[in-house]
Symmetry: C2
């Protein structure tokens, strides 16, 4: 027993060391490449490349090949990726002990069989690094733009992803039928639900890689907001569509592993009914709608989808309310370390709480980040603001590298890849078709309502920038019990690699070709004023939201906005006095000047002062633009104050 | 298989949530207490208290008690702490599945037995949080004071810990003999090596709790340096004394677990010989010196001890050299995020590399922190300096809370405590005696050589401030296979709890009683000048060190100091031109002004500027003192420059 612990410890140390080495090499080489003005490869691509290199080394240069290579791969693969429960390896470093357990061996040395789950579990990686990445993305998002473009973002994320999922599902199902016709697959290998599941896994664009791409190239702010907003929210959609499915099917697999191997597709779907929490596609497939459209099942799954989404949203917001009230009514801001720690822990807990109660952690942490940046940030001290942002920045940066490095590694070391050329070809074709079916029709429809249209070149780039990444892999890797699932995993990995390298590296020339501005600061936009006024339906929707936000939430959660005693009706007197302004801080001035969402701009400026040593060429120009933005924020909010 | 992963994931989520909740409650309540000027309870004590509360809740309020309570405890205990390999629990949250595996059950459902190692492994916690804690302590240490007091610190840490270990070993052995006489234990239960092992585990004072205490009370700088330096270095001693022992004994236990239960002491020590790496006490015990003194064994163990120590020291220094050269010869400092990431990853890797090659990670990270603060910090940008420090600060703060919370938790939930009243009483008595045998005679001897004596009241406080903590628990928890080991674990936990609460909370009145200054800033000391000149043998030792440091290492690793072409002989021309000053930075000025170790003071000042909003009453006064310190640093280094 204790020997197992020791070995696991050795494993963990070696893996951690390897991960750190990989991260260092990635950081240094990508940075070096960027110094030579070679902007094509970004950190995500680099990390994936080095991960593959490491995988290749481990796979082919390890002393004993064959069975042994398998072992090494199995060891570093996750439980979820692990479809051969009887192969296990104990030590990666100097000496390899591999045990291929026959029933006889297990009986003779029962304690040894417990080594099995020593494998590295990628969920730990995702649990550790996905929340800060998403949180950082949401926290540093230009909120004004996000809210202005919210309608379009939601359309692309929700409608678009569902269109995409359906299109991919249909296309791939067509291809699988073709495979059956051509004798490449047996009838019954691929069900419609399998294809839809693949569609749900692969249709979501990845916020991590999209963010990496966008922040490197610094494209137009509206395009940035549209793409990032879409990628974050459609992840949520994908997760909700697939999440519980894998959960319940796993619960079933556990009991079937011992008795039967692959191809238990039909039985699996039949037993799904026992799963506690059920997801959209599962709900649908449970109603026996594996092959044909079934309206009740469809509406039930939509209902489930909306329920999980709303629950996650609410949870993220509740965490923000707690953080905001805590930082508002205590004097935590006097100690930036405590402030940062509390903020950090609470934000992280939004992800974990959501996962614990069966909701989507990513959606929760996304809304938590958005609302923290809108409310809680006003209660933090200026040092606290800088610290929280920097802390998440480091986590975000390292997390991206670790996740993509791991993806590259697993691509070459997962021992049970199933390459089905037709399926892969169909998948490649279908993601292009589905992206086109998503972007162009939706843009056309949205442009009907928008006064500032989404230009053609933006549409082309949005079509182009459909990078897939960590979340897709995470979803695909959750269940690899059957051959179909393994086919899906292999295809997903290939698609992720393709989109990240090919699309990622050609994004720069593509942008030039499409004549889209680059090198734009996140907070700058010369057409700001016109856009602000020109957005679709600004008065009905925004004023309602603004009323709630400015008159109730801001005064309740921060020291900004009008006093609650004014906004709330008379009979809420006690409540409004209790939650109204208790202490007047120096932040007061900040709130008065910038009642909108420019807090981060203020923060950026503080940082700029600190970083004044850096020879950033256009920094003065940038400051001017920021001032302009600030002025606009005030101007926009003035009518509310009157 | 996949079911197991899912459950493990659920477990991990629940545990992480619980840990975050515990940390939040600790932070908020301790901070609230401090607001009421109640300084007695610090974060470590608070975290341990809440951890115990959580342990109590889990143990007694869980739906089913008895066997079930055991299960819960086992699940959250580590593999090392886990002495009942056949009990396992799968889920902590809503529904408990507990399987008590008989051989029959395991045969029927072989895959289920792999659930066993789902337990939370405290080594992960220690691996994750100990390095930043130690690194932060070393990185922010007042280096000048550390070097000035180095002789005394080394004496206390090395000689003192060995004295302590011997004294405790002897005392406790005496008590165990008494237990045998009184019929409380069988002859052969406790060997001398067991008692020495206990001595090694418990004799080291804990840097985490000592730092928590000292930084809260802000005692005199010399006292701070002596106590912290001692606590960090004696950990290293304790780890080296015990580390490999547990490693080799574990390797043996693995094969014995199945066949026999407790009391296999004699057989275990006999099989130790097969262990690859062997430690001081093991080396000694292997030579058959279990009962009587054996000079060859003694010298071999001393040699082994020194070898591990030197190796770890060297490894930490090599990491620093890599970091320093990397930051010196590249323009990483233009991007503070990359700079911070590289610095952070490399510093962490010092711990992992040392552990991977069988050295002491803590010693490596300690020396890495010390040397990074001396050299690499000169190559970082000012933003990078602030960031690295803040990053480690957050990790340090949260790590302390998590580690001590876990200790409290395990104290009440570890299901196999062995309470031996005599042994515990003997241990309590022996740590007091050993601390007295350590501090007073050594202080007396050191005072013979020191011109600035260690005052009586300092000695009393040093005697008093022997807080034990995380490292002792870590060492004790590594092996709990026999009843003796479990007795040691239980006693260690009680001693840790006692020293942290009783000594920790009475430190404040004790300091007042002993008339020792408190609320001193870490960089302040009015008697600085006198102390500087008055230290024991300043000219022979310091000048040698200074010569190496100032003339060779500084110019090689940073942009400070005299050019290498001047320091190195003629024939090293190529080398000196290669590693000499390549680029002249603005830091140049900093180096010229402060050639000594005042970089952190500069950093603190930068931070002070950022934090200028904070109403720190004595900040101006403090700045003046810092200036004084700066001036002194220059004065001291002037003769070197001439």
């Amino acid at each position: 027993m204790t020997g197992a612990v020791k070995h696991r410890h050795d494993n963990a140390t070696a893996l951690e060391l390897a991960a750190i080495g990989l991260a260092l090499i990635t950081i240094l080489s990508v940075w070096k490449l960027k110094q030579f003005k070679y902007k094509l490869l970004n950190e995500t691509g680099g990390a994936m490349f080095y991960g593959m290199l490491m995988g290749l080394t481990v796979r082919y240069l390890s002393p004993a090949q064959g069975e042994h290579g398998d072992d090494v791969a199995t060891m570093c693969s996750c439980g979820g990726l692990n479809s051969t429960p009887h192969i296990l390896t104990v030590n990666i470093t100097s000496h390899f002990h591999s045990y291929r357990h026959t029933a006889k061996v297990s009986q003779r040395y029962p304690p040894v069989s417990i080594h099995h789950t020593e494998n590295f579990d990628p969920e730990v990686l995702f649990n550790l690094f996905l929340p800060p990445i998403i949180f950082h993305g949401a926290y540093t998002l230009n909120q004004k733009r996000f809210i202005e473009n919210l309608g379009s973002i939601l359309s692309f994320a929700f409608l678009g992803t569902i269109i995409s999922c359906m299109t991919i599902g249909a296309c791939v199902y067509g291809f699988t039928r073709l495979m059956v016709l051509l004798g490449q697959a047996a009838d019954g290998d691929f069900f419609l639900t399998d294809c839809l599941m693949f569609g749900a896994i692969i249709s979501a664009t990845d916020p991590v890689s999209v963010l990496g791409l966008l922040s490197d190239l610094r494209v137009d702010v509206d395009l940035h907001t549209l793409l990032f907003g879409e990628s974050v929210l459609n992840d949520a959609v994908a997760i909700v569509l697939t999440h519980e499915q894998s959960r319940s099917s796993r619960r079933v697999n556990r009991w079937q592993d011992g008795e039967q191997g692959d191809g238990a597709g039909r039985q699996l779907t039949q037993v799904h009914i026992h799963g506690k929490a059920i997801s959209a596609i599962t709900t649908y497939s449970q109603m026996g709608a594996g092959h044909s459209f079934n309206p009740p099942a469809f509406f039930l799954s939509v209902g489930h989808f909306l329920g999980v989404l709303a629950g996650s949203f609410l949870l993220g917001f509740i965490v923000t309310v707690i953080t905001a009230l805590l930082t508002k009514f205590t004097r935590l801001c006097e100690n930036p370390l405590l402030e940062t720690s509390v903020f950090f822990l609470l934000s992280w807990s939004s992800f974990l709480s959501a996962e614990a109660v069966g909701l989507s952690g990513i959606v929760a942490v996304l809304f938590c980040g958005l609302s923290q940046a809108r409310y809680t940030i006003h209660n933090l001290s200026s040092v606290g603001r800088t610290r929280t942002k920097q802390l998440f920045e480091v986590f975000n940066f390292l997390g991206e590298i670790f996740i993509f490095g791991y993806m590259g590694y697993i691509l070459l070391t997962f021992p049970h890849h199933v390459f089905k050329a037709f399926f892969i070809f169909g998948a490649f074709l279908s993601i292009i078709i589905s992206r086109a079916c998503n972007i162009y029709p939706l843009s056309f429809l949205l442009n009907l309502g928008r006064t500032t249209k989404i230009p053609r070149n933006f549409q082309h780039f949005m079509m182009f920038a459909g990078l897939r990444g960590a979340v897709a892999l995470n979803l695909a890797a959750r269940d690899t019990s059957t051959e179909v699932k393994r086919t899906i995993l292999t295809t997903t990995l290939l698609l992720v690699g393709f989109t990240i390298w090919v699309l990622g590296t050609t994004a720069d020339p593509m942008l030039r070709c499409l004549d889209i501005r680059m090198g734009v600061d996140a907070d700058e936009n010369p057409e700001d004023l016109s856009f602000e006024v020109a957005t679709g339906r600004p008065d009905t929707n925004r004023s309602l939201w603004h009323c709630l936000d400015y008159k109730y939430l801001k005064p309740l959660l921060t020291h900004c906005g009008p006093p609650l005693t004014d906004s709330l009706p008379q009979w809420c007197g006690v409540f409004s006095r209790l939650f109204g302004r208790v202490q007047v801080q120096e932040d007061e001035e900040l709130c008065e000047i910038e009642p909108d969402d420019s807090t981060f701009i203020h923060l950026e400026k503080t940082e700029d002062q600190v970083e004044s040593k850096r020879s950033d060429s256009g920094s003065e120009h940038q400051e001017d633009l920021l001032e302009g933005d600030l002025g606009l924020g005030t101007a926009a909010a003035l009518p509310m104050e009157a």
